[in-house]
Amino acid sequence: MRQVITVSLNGRAYQLEDDAYAALAAYLGEAARTLAGNPDKDEIVADLEQAIADKCDRGLGVHKTVVVRSELAAILEEMGPVDGEDREPAPGPAPGAAPGAAGAPAGGAGSGAAPRRLYQISEGALVSGVCNGIAAYFDLDVTVVRLAFVLLVFLTGGAALLAYLVLMFVVPYASTSEEHAAARGLPFNARALVERAKQKAAEFASSADWHTSKAQWKDEWRRTRAEWRSEWRRARAEWRAQRWSRSPPAPPPAPVPYAAHVASGCLLAVVGIVLAVFTVGWLFAVASLVTTGAIFGWWLPHGAPFWLGIILLIVVYQLVALPLKAIRRAAYYPAGYHAPWLAAWDGVAGLAVLAALAWYGYHHVPELHDLFDRVTQAIDRVVASV
């Protein structure tokens, strides 16, 4: 048994199965989007609806009153994608209303079009489909997104990997065709920006004085790169100076009393454990926010978007973790920074607590269980694809 949805196509009622409806809604939404800014948009959409209706009539009769997905897919295939490319830059008939609307194609697409959402797309995914979804969202090539992601992983020292894990957990999968349409849907500001940049690049590439401008562009690029490099060097030098200014570059080899060793070891262990517990608690808070919309039962202020909660949690984490990390760093110094047993103890204690909590979470928190399973599945898939 399937649900049937009744729609009006240019004034006449048609019954569609639910997934046929989703496909039609996606097609007409895309048509409205493509024609945004076209002064005859409504008329063209009505014409298209009428043409679809005529094609539906062909397959309907007294004993067949419902259009199914495969029939509608064939009809849409016959209709072909709606062509909006060569619309005039400034339509003549409406000179007064045009200038504002013409510049912002996103503005006109408001009515009836599904909003664009970030989804994971598992079709053709390498790991989980996050990059795939991001590529669909910004209408970019997925390879570009993946390369950018790998670059980010190196630049951020692995933090981007964490971000990927969080996205994997947070971003829903696109499963229905409507969700797939929404994954590539309405151009909003950021997408319009990318779109404009792409167009600019294409214009630039096809401009007549390409060869002279290429030389200019190369010079410009070389200069910018040199600037970046010197900037980066200066920043790095500053950062180094700051980081090492607290501890002398060569620690004095003065004998450290035994009691100080023990004290700093204990301090390290305690701070390490506290930090690990806090980190895990924080991850639980994020999970709780994502799954229930509230942080351990505390609801965000009414109307506050949920990414605001995530940012709030990150700020709180940094506020609490920073002093703890500072204490931990300070605890190294009585023993001298180079005491390997201290670093090992610190690392082992932290890891042990993390492992224990992860084990507990895996067996007692269903959401975490799911997340672990998805991570292992993703790893399996990567291994299998290599």
Binding site: D40, D47, G80, P93
Partner: protein, 107 residues
Amino acid sequence: MSIDQKLSPLRKGLLEFLVLKIVSGTSVYVADILKRLAGTEFATQEGTLYPLLSKLRREGLVEYRWQESDAGPPRKYYRLTPAGQAQLGELDGYWVRINKTISELGN
């Protein structure tokens, strides 16, 4: 760039010319135009044709009137305006000149 990619803008530009040509005979509706083009390399679809017709109408080259049909709702029948007639004449002349140039250049 494949040969098909190279020819696609050419086809796209010529489609407008061909639609004017088809509309110039008797008044036709969209299904007629699609049928006339179907067997040729200019075969096209509603998704392309409706926006194109609306553009031609905005430019004052074609006009339509509603006509009752035996089956289903009334249909839009398109025909050329005098301006469309004039432009078609110009395009026809241009096409003849292009053909001449091409055949003269080749040997």
